[in-house]
């Protein structure tokens, strides 16, 4: 609706009036001048709503596993502490100087431990924030709640503040904050503004990693080296993606991320198998005809790419709605093109 036009008067048209023509929405013909044309519109309420399944069902009930690990690590910490105290006492008994040195070392270690733990906790909290944001955004897309969409976008902006490349996108999104925009549309707007540059970069990261893996697999002399390299490359990729989308995972954060990525892969794997396994195997088959090693390399690269896509789903703070989800086919094309260039 145009914003500046003066108020328009109400008007009513009988559909059986000869001066009124009911148009077919798909028709392109121009009707006669001087008539009033009525074009029925599709029902907005009946349009399909694309929705991501939630990443993982929210955990409920008491977490016995967490209790076990907390209690066990507490005990180990006590044991260590006791050992250190005993050691320092012994050293003091031998010589005052050595005792002080040991005490200083212990204090430094304790300080470092505290900092490391704090950093881990911070990283975990940040990952949890992103995950929660993802769920909240999915919820807003469904409920179209305006106030909640504003809250989600505010949090997104806070999250994106660290990324200097998003300065302009942030400013333009902040400019829309006071406009009347429905909740779901607001989320889509935020996705288009903030996520587009990141998605591009993420895609590049994934395809680089996949290429590297496929090359190394193709030329590596030992299977063990492949396995190690693929593992390291996958970890690196996940960490890079998490950083790109605003997470700061430490070691524990990486573990939990890895678990989510693998869980997500297990959920989406079945779906992906139906759509692209055939083409994948076909590609692999042709490559393998050319050379055994080359085929293995391509397959490993594709698997890495798939892992990367799952990692994008997990680390991205918004679900894919307005922007297309990067598909394996795009990445595979990159991968094969590169191989062709090298051969």
């Amino acid at each position: 609706m145009s914003e500046k036009t003066p108020q328009r008067r109400p008007a009513t048209f009988r559909l059986d009036d000869p001066g009124v023509i009911v148009m077919d929405p798909d028709a392109t013909t121009r009707p006669a001048r001087g008539t009033v044309q009525v074009t029925p519109e599709s029902d907005p309420a009946l349009l399909p709503v694309a929705l991501d399944a939630p990443l993982l069902p929210a955990r409920r009930g008491f977490r016995w596993g967490a209790l076990f690990w907390s209690a066990a690590s507490g005990l180990v910490l006590f044991g260590l502490g006791l050992g250190v105290v005993n050691l320092i006492e012994d050293l003091f008994a031998r010589s005052q100087t050595v005792g002080y040195v040991a005490l200083a070392l212990a204090a430094a270690a304790a300080l470092a431990l505290v900092v490391v733990i704090a950093r881990e906790a911070f990283g975990l909290a940040r990952l949890a924030t992103i995950e929660k944001l993802h769920l909240r955004a999915a919820e807003v897309l469904r409920s179209d709640d305006r106030a909640e969409s504003r809250a989600v976008v505010d949090e997104l902006l806070r999250l994106a503040r660290q990324n200097p490349h998003l300065a302009r996108a942030r400013a333009s999104l902040a400019g829309h904050a006071d406009d009347i925009i429905d909740g779901a549309d607001m989320i889509k707007l935020a996705e288009r503004e903030l996520m587009a540059p990141l998605d591009e970069q993420a895609r590049r990261l994934v395809s680089t990693a996949a290429q590297r893996v496929s090359v190394v697999t193709a030329i590596s002399p030992r299977a063990l080296i492949d396995v190690l390299f693929v593992f390291v490359a996958a970890l690196r990729l996940i960490r890079q993606l998490a950083r790109l989308y605003g997470g700061r995972p430490g070691t524990l954060g990486m573990l939990s991320l890895l678990r989510h990525v693998i869980g997500h892969l297990a959920i989406t794997g079945g779906m992906a198998a139906t759509d692209s396994l055939v083409q994948q195997m076909l590609g692999h088959g042709i490559a393998a005809k050319l050379s055994h090693r080359l085929g293995e390399g391509v397959l490993n690269g594709l698997l890495t790419a798939r892992l990367g896509l799952a990692a994008i789903d997990v680390t991205r703070p918004l679900p894919f709605t307005a922007l297309p989800r990067p598909a394996l086919a795009d990445l595979a094309r990159d991968l094969l093109r590169k191989r062709d260039g090298e051969e």
Binding site: M1, R8, P10, T12, T39, A45, G61, D182
Partner: protein, 487 residues
């Protein structure tokens, strides 16, 4: 007004009732859903559509437990109160779907109990009982009287009747009032005459051209079985707010009857149906106020504010659950959103948000959750873009109800029309400042808005099943109102 003895007794009764309900609720989780709305706001249609959608399977993508399949089934059960008529759901559905007409205006209170069998997120099977009450919207106007004395009410009614378009309608009654002396001896005939003229005036205000909302006492308009009893035979007198009535005077008689009206009519109604609500949806028909003009809009605003002041709103605590149940979620719904193109829904919501701002702020301050939504429980229209010359009008198409008038033409209830009802302003404040012309002050071709009333939609039947009723955002309303109780 200082709390009198009767107020304290009333409180005690309410608390005892709440305690009983709480005990019962431990074994059968129950939500009492208050469907609040002035007359013609669409309460009956809302309840019918809600029950129909849940029991027969509607399209509710936003109502999470339903969309994800956690609701196994919804059934109707005998209601808890044996003295209250049952909500005539089956006839209302038939009227909507087969006869394509809106249900008749509600004349008496009725009740319905829904039982929802569902599975919780963690897998446990549970049931939730939802009690819904329907009642004539006119009765709602009585609630603010609970906190007013006869003198206060008289002064307010008189002041109101001397404003704007009401003064013309009240002329006859004013003339009669001038002949009455408050301190004169009580006189049954004078009281009856005053009550009759006063009722006529209230009835005239309800006309579509004026669409006034603030018309207490409500039973004058919808007397039910109390017609012609002394409790309904009184009228405001021109008396001082802090004056006291001489014994045996007309004033004393009116005042006594006013008090008994409160005791016989208003208090039981409040006690039985409003003091125990958990969730509330406030249906507001803003469109007929737009049709009528700025006075009707202001009237609607003050009527809503007065009513919402009577409810007990706030975050539920254990203590409140035990002794003083509170409403912890309120949904303000602008009904009949299907009479507008969806591009204007945001503006309609903004108008409603502005109209209930005071009540909403108060509720939020007390800790209740608030939402405002433009909805249509039964969607009667489809959307279309009308091109007239170079102008494009976002319009709706549908069949106007028989007797509706537009462009000086009266519709027969069979012709389909496309209608553009007029642009709502971007800033709702413009409407409240009175910057538009309605039917109360202008001839119909000069009015800024014209919202026609449409007949219910023609639905295609598939087999024997009753077809699902189309709606706008009914699922979002459900999700807000009971979604959290179905987690």
């Amino acid at each position: 007004m200082a709390p009198g003895f009767s107020d304290i007794v009333e409180e005690a009764r309410l608390s005892a009732r709440a305690l009983l309900d709480y005990g019962d609720g431990l074994f059968h989780p129950t939500v009492r859903l208050g469907v609040t709305g002035l007359s013609r706001a669409g309460k009956t249609v809302f309840i019918t559509a809600l029950v129909h959608g849940l029991t027969r399977g509607g399209r509710f993508p936003v109502f999470e437990p339903y969309a994800t399949g956690r609701i196994a089934g919804v059934r109707l059960e005998p209601q808890p109160d044996d003295a209250v008529p049952r909500f005539d759901y089956e006839n209302h559905v038939r009227a909507l779907i087969e006869d394509r007409r809106w249900p008749n205006s509600t004349v008496d209170i009725s009740e319905l109990r829904l039982v929802i069998d569902y599975q919780r997120q963690n897998g446990a099977d549970r049931t939730l009982t939802v009690d819904i009450v329907d009642y004539p919207g006119e009765w709602l106007l009585d609630l603010p009287l609970l906190h007013r004395s006869y003198e206060q009410w008289s002064a307010e009614s008189l002041a109101l009747s001397r404003e704007g378009p009401r003064a013309k309608l009240a002329a006859l009654w004013h003339a009669h009032l001038a002949t009455l002396a408050a301190a004169a001896r009580e006189d049954e005939q004078a009281a009856r005459m005053a009550a009759k003229l006063f009722t006529d005036y209230l009835r005239a205000c309800r006309d579509e051209r004026f669409a006034m909302s603030l018309l207490p006492p409500g039973r004058f308009l919808m007397p039910g079985n109390l017609a012609d009893t002394p409790a309904l035979t009184f009228a405001p007198l021109d008396v001082a707010i802090d004056g006291s009535a001489p014994d045996g005077s007309l004033w004393a008689m009116m005042r006594r009857r006013y008090e008994s009206y409160k005791a016989v009519v208003v208090r039981p109604f409040f006690r039985d149906h409003f003091a125990r609500l958990d969730r509330q949806v406030v249906l507001v028909d803003a469109l007929s106020a737009f049709n009528a003009g700025p006075e009707a809009l202001h009237d609607l605003e003050s009527a809503l504010a007065g009513i919402l002041d009577c409810f007990r709103i706030g975050r539920s605590t254990l203590f409140s659950n035990l002794f003083r149940p509170r409403i912890d979620r309120i949904l303000f719904a602008a009904t009949k959103a299907d009479h507008l193109h969806h591009l204007s829904h945001d503006r309609l919501e903004a108008v409603l948000r502005r109209a209930v701002a005071r009540a909403a702020d108060r509720a939020r301050y007390a800790g209740a959750a608030i939402d405002v939504v433009a909805l249509s429980a039964v969607r009667a229209t489809r959307e279309a873009m009308v091109a007239r010359g170079r102008e494009k009008l976002p319009s709706i198409t549908g069949t106007p109800a028989p007797g509706e008038v537009a462009n000086g033409e009266t519709f027969d209830g069979a012709t389909e029309v496309a209608t553009f009802p007029g642009d709502l302003p971007e800033d709702p404040e413009e409407l409240f400042k009175g910057g538009f012309a309605g039917l109360s002050s202008a001839p119909s071709e000069k009015a800024d808005f014209r919202f026609l009333r449409f007949r219910p939609p023609l639905l295609e039947r598939h087999g024997d099943e009753a077809p699902a009723l189309p709606h706008i955002r009914l699922d979002r309303a459900l999700q807000f109102l009971i979604g959290d109780r179905l987690q």
